[in-house]
């Protein structure tokens, strides 16, 4: 059995780093056994081709050694949690890149397994030296793991409707976020994207928060109610304001000014320019949050911007993949706000498209939300093929919106139907469909 040694560097902004060497598995024999079991499980899962092994190993480790998550997180400094309805995986990758550029060795859950078991897997299966962690966390799970993981930094991106059959109310997730923020250690900080009132309200509960946003962008959904009192929100000089209880989102410390894919970031006493691979307000918001988080953690502002701009594709999102003589652009769109984001990023495109809904458990099994997507934006596509096990729901929505559509539940046939060889097409897919597409076309 391996004894894994890791170098832990504790650092705080403005202080010099003092390397300390500890054993990650110093805690108990049980933890060592848990690690062994988890790693063996991961290896078996990967060898047998049954996936990444990103959740089961964590579950086993927790079974073998209850509480292993908290102990595995000890010594990782900084430890950052990234949460939100959309953009978690991307922002986690961008921040990880920025920290690596500054010489950190980062543990992360890059494949997006973001429940407790996925976090445990990431921490106990990690091999090699690591001094810090950047973990994306499911928005409902985040408040439940903050106590164990004791993050130095919480990055809060956005909150809108998603998987209502599981989460029921966005507002209750927002309330749990605020409670989590109020319970952060006094050393901990929050970086929050300020476009969603619920996110602002949660961040305002933290000891210290850096609010970031994209100038002039209208991001997010479900903004009608005041996060504090529930009254209908009004606006004051273009920003949300409650006429009832006077709640406001508060000042913005970091602002992004976007022109297409070019972004200027200003705040925290710095100013940088960067060019992003995706020209959309949502991607700019993610990059801004990652940059603000990195700078808050002491990374040089220019180096952080360069590293963030250097990340071209994250987990196949927006990837252009060759498949049977065609180019398929993979677009993950799993809720109304996510669709807004993707439709903004591909606005003007006249490629044929496939829209696929599986509505599995990770997607939410009620497809009603699809009626809140402004699908008329696809009217300029020569054809849109409705696909997935819920192809009939997609077809009706397209028909009612006046989009020229075909129906083909099978994804491979749908892609072939949408675009001939030599052409390029877009696939807009919910989470389950997106993963299926990656298995089919690669990326």
């Amino acid at each position: 059995m391996h004894r894994q040694r890791a170098t832990i560097q504790r650092s705080a902004p403005g202080q010099s780093r003092t390397p300390v060497t500890v054993t990650l598995d110093a805690a108990t024999g049980r933890d060592q056994l848990a690690r062994l079991v988890a790693r063996t499980a991961r290896r078996s899962i990967r060898i047998s081709g049954r996936g990444q092994g990103s959740t089961l190993p964590g579950r086993l480790a927790e079974r073998v050694s209850p509480g292993v998550l908290a102990r595995a997180a000890k010594g990782l400094d900084p430890l950052v949690l990234v949460s939100g309805t959309n953009g978690k995986t991307t922002t986690t990758a961008l921040l990880s890149a920025a920290l690596r550029a500054a010489g950190h060795r980062v543990v992360t859950n890059a494949t997006g397994s973001n429940l407790r078991s996925g976090l445990t897997s990431a921490l106990v299966c990690h091999r090699g030296p690591a001094d810090c962690a950047v973990l994306e966390v499911d928005e409902a799970t985040m408040p439940r793991v903050v106590g164990d993981l004791r993050p130095n930094l919480l990055v809060l991106l956005n909150l809108s409707r998603d998987q209502l059959d599981r989460y029921h109310e966005v507002r209750s997730v927002g309330a749990a976020w605020r409670t989590a923020a109020t319970r952060l250690g006094s050393h901990a900080r929050v970086v929050a994207v300020d476009h969603d009132p619920l996110v602002c309200y949660a961040a305002q509960g933290a000891p210290e928060a850096v609010m970031v946003g994209v100038s002039g962008a209208h991001l997010g959904r479900d903004h009608a109610g005041c996060p504090a009192c529930g009254d209908l929100l009004g606006s004051n000089r273009g920003r949300a304001a409650c006429p009832g209880c006077q709640w406001q989102p508060g000042p913005r410390q970091v602002e992004a000014f976007r022109q297409g894919s070019l972004v200027r970031l200003r705040g925290l006493g710095e100013q940088v320019h960067l060019s992003l691979p995706v020209a959309s307000p949502g991607y700019a918001a993610n990059a801004t949050a990652a940059w603000a988080a990195a700078v808050t953690l002491g990374v040089d502002a220019t180096a952080a911007a360069r590293a963030i701009a250097g990340v071209k594709v994250v987990e196949a999102r927006y990837a252009e993949v060759g498949w049977r003589g065609r180019t398929v652009r993979l677009l993950l769109a799993k809720n109304p706000a996510g669709w807004d984001e993707v439709l903004a990023a591909v606005a003007g495109s006249e490629r044929p498209a496939v829209v696929s809904l599986e509505a599995g458990i990770p997607d939410g099994r009620d497809t009603s939300w699809f009626w809140d997507v402004d699908i008329r934006a696809l009217r300029n596509r020569p054809v849109v093929v409705a696909s997935g096990s819920r192809a009939r729901d997609v077809a009706l929505r397209l028909g009612v919106a006046g989009v020229n559509y075909e129906v083909e539940p099978r994804l491979d046939r749908a892609l072939a139907l949408a675009g001939g060889k030599g052409g390029a097409l877009d696939l807009l897919a919910d989470y389950t469909s997106f993963q299926a597409a990656r298995r089919l076309v690669g990326g």
Binding site: S117, D138, R166, A224, L232, I361, R365, D372, R392, L396
Partner: protein, 280 residues
């Protein structure tokens, strides 16, 4: 195809307070209704009735959706006040309306919100809703009195009991319905239909949508036949049949739905997910 009367204004279908009562995609009901009317040659349009503007009383139909607890409470406050006068008058005058989920609750005598507070409703329906520890979540199938099957997705914590004189919209064959006990689903009172079914319900149930469409047309003095003429390659019919089959129920024939010999799956279809989204 019977044309809409030349020179008449298009049929207007209002969505009531979509910012407050728009959590569950129920605006699709208005879109589908307008589309089915347009497809038959009757010009129709969807109008967003944004809070807190007063609701106009003269629309042809009103669609009310499901909202979150606090937003629903804000909506009730407005609907009981001067902003809601137009809607109350329209409903009292028999305007066709469809109220889904939270809106079913708020049209009643009272309901309990998530915090257990009793909130007085609009008193338009003799029903009352109490809270319950568990939510009713999952696919539902119900049968209307004329045999038509309804398919939809329910997601509610409230338990609704109908007053003695009220007719339910349907009988639950699968799922929970109003309260999970008496097999009633929704309510129908004159031209007002209230239901727990999302999907949206009119997207998944074209026969119900057409029934409402005919009510709208006749109130306009247009002699529309029921059933309305079929729509070519109707994607609504295709969706209806696909959803019923997925739930283990039969095929639709000549406007009626029949059960296969297969027995209805018993009531439970809770979200399997206490441990949700396991990632990749």
């Amino acid at each position: 195809m019977p044309p809409g009367k030349p020179g008449t204004a298009p049929i207007r279908i209002g969505i009531v307070f979509p910012q407050l009562l728009g959590t569950y995609g129920d605006r699709g009901n208005a879109e589908v209704l307008a589309w089915r009317l347009n497809a038959r040659g009757y010009p129709a349009e969807v109008v967003d009735l944004l809070a807190p503007d007063p609701i106009a009383p003269g629309l042809d139909a009103y669609i009310l959706g499901g909202g979150e607890d606090l937003l629903q409470a804000s909506a009730v406050k407005l609907l009981l006040g001067p902003e809601g006068r137009g809607l109350r008058a329209a409903l009292a005058g028999g305007a066709p309306a469809l109220a889904v989920c939270g809106s079913l609750q708020l049209l009643g005598r009272a309901y309990l919100d998530g915090a257990g507070r009793k909130v007085p409703g609009l008193q338009l329906l003799d029903l009352e809703t109490t809270a319950s520890g568990t939510r009713c979540v999952g696919e539902m199938v119900a049968r209307m009195a004329d045999g038509t099957l309804l398919t939809g997705f329910e997601n509610h914590g409230g338990r609704t009991r109908l007053g003695a004189g009220l007719q339910p919209l349907g009988t639950v064959l699968r799922g929970h319905g109003n309260n999970g006990e008496d097999h009633t689903e929704g309510v129908r009172q004159g031209n007002l239909i209230a239901t727990y079914l999302h999907g949206p319900i009119l997207a998944r149930n074209p026969a119900l949508a057409d029934m409402i469409a005919v009510t709208i047309l006749r109130r306009r003095g247009i002699d529309a036949p029921l059933p309305l003429p079929p729509i070519d390659d109707d994607p609504g019919e295709a969706l209806h049949n696909e959803r019923l089959e997925a739930a283990g129920f039969g095929q639709r024939r000549s406007g009626r739905l029949r059960l296969h010999a297969r027995p209805a799956p018993s009531g439970r279809d809770r979200a399997a997910a206490t441990e949700p989204h396991a990632g990749s």
